[in-house]
């Protein structure tokens, strides 16, 4: 299982990388952590003629807090986010999700930008970003633009980013006072892609939840925002009755599918079990 031959370039600026992408129009691939791209090259699912290694572009990496938001450079590695005190304080949902993303050796290389650009339907980060009203910053030949996370993920592995554009940063609002986040997933082996996973975020006043977000991953082609379940919980106290109502609403929100790992029915069951877990954890004193 070896990749087809390709050429290799290591630009030192975003401008230079964009120039190479434009020149090879559609025949070049950006190499970030390589933890998803190299397997696809090894399996020859993709045979670009040029790899553009962006690991030499210093400004693409790092976590900074500016005003009400946290900016994470696209090349920031999973391990840096996992260990960041700024993330733990201002975006606790990411801190909760990180340990479930792959395994330590993969988190040492994999990047947030790569994970978002790849848009694997079972990835945790896209769901987190949708729940947190985040913005994806994309740089292309025409300049810099921002896209709301919920509009970025179009369909299976399809995003709003064009072939000749580069993701440069992710911007996430700091968690507001009184808000809490919860995360849970079920995978065959810790760190592998989940069979079903969910993130929850909202304002908690005792056990009453408002401005509630519930976003699933690994249940469809993109992150799935469970709007009916969100409506069912809005302004409600978390108790057996409201949890059952939210679980029922998922029959409308989710169209689960069967694959090698579990059937559609089991996936729906998991979604309901996980919903109960995150709701309970959200309001846990």
């Amino acid at each position: 299982m070896k990749p087809a031959a390709f050429n290799y370039a290591k630009p030192t600026s975003v401008g230079e990388a964009l120039g190479l992408l434009a020149k090879h129009d559609g025949d070049a691939k950006v190499l970030a952590g390589g933890q998803s791209l190299i397997p696809t090259l090894n399996m020859r699912l993709s045979t670009p003629s040029l790899l553009i290694d962006i690991n030499g572009i210093g400004d693409l990496s790092g976590i900074s807090v500016m005003g009400g938001e946290v900016r994470i450079g696209a090349l920031t590695r999973h391990v840096e986010i996992e260990n960041s005190s700024k993330i733990a304080k201002h975006v606790p949902l990411l801190a909760l999700a990180m340990p479930s993303i792959a395994h330590p050796a993969i988190r040492n290389r994999g990047t947030i930008g790569g994970s978002i650009a790849m848009a694997d339907p079972a990835a945790e980060l896209p769901a987190c970003l949708c729940a947190l009203d985040s913005e994806i910053e994309i740089t292309g030949p025409a300049g810099v633009r921002g896209v709301a996370a919920k509009d970025f993920f179009k369909s299976l592995y399809e995003t709003d980013a064009g072939e000749n554009e580069i993701l440069t940063a992710i911007k996430i609002p700091k968690i507001a006072k009184g808000y809490r986040s919860a995360f849970d997933e079920l995978a065959r082996r810790h760190g592998d892609y989940a069979m079903c996973g969910v993130v929850a975020h909202g304002k908690c006043d005792g056990d009453i939840i408002s401005d509630f977000r519930l976003v699933f991953f690994a249940v469809g082609g993109t992150p799935v925002i469970a709007t009916d379940a969100m409506d069912a919980m809005e302004g409600m106290a978390v108790n057996d009755e409201s949890i059952i109502a939210a679980q029922k609403a998922l029959d409308n929100d989710l169209e689960t599918f069967s694959d090698l790992h579990c059937s559609a029915t089991l996936r729906m069951h998991y979604a309901k079990v996980l919903t109960k877990r995150v709701l309970t954890s959200l309001v846990k004193p």
């Binding site: 990749p3 390709f6 190299i38 397997p39 003629s49 290694d53 395994h103 050796a105 290389r109 810790h190």
Partner: protein, 162 residues
Amino acid sequence: MSNKIEQVQLDVDVNGEKISRMIEPRLSLVDFLRNELELTGSHVGCEHGVCGACTVLVDGVIVRGCLMLAIQTNGAEVMTIEGQSDSGAITDLQEAFHERNALQCGFCTPGMLLTSTELLQKKSDPSREEIREYLSGNYCRCTGYEAIVDAVEAVAAVRRDV
């Protein structure tokens, strides 16, 4: 599609030795180590990141040798199981694996040793759960993991005492 492939110059430090070679860009780090440098302690299992047999250290952190191109280590320091073993830094861990039958065929062992070494650097007192979690990306088809967790736990305890 005709695509003229240019070889690239790699200058890398492997186990403390400076190496310079012209290589093909598509050459993976683990294939470079095994086939060009004959360092066959890093193993090749799945070639897509799942098994952990190819684990090596690049600039001090564990990575998948099958998911990094050799050229990406240009200017970096690579340490393989051979280097770690010769340095004496993991002799206690190797002995604990041996004593507890934490290896049978040995295919997974280099990856297990390097991954548990990184865990013990980060945490001197990991729980069994944490050991399992840190090693979750390394498959072992022989031991059933229990003896591996025992070995890592035992070394952590001894290292804390000295």
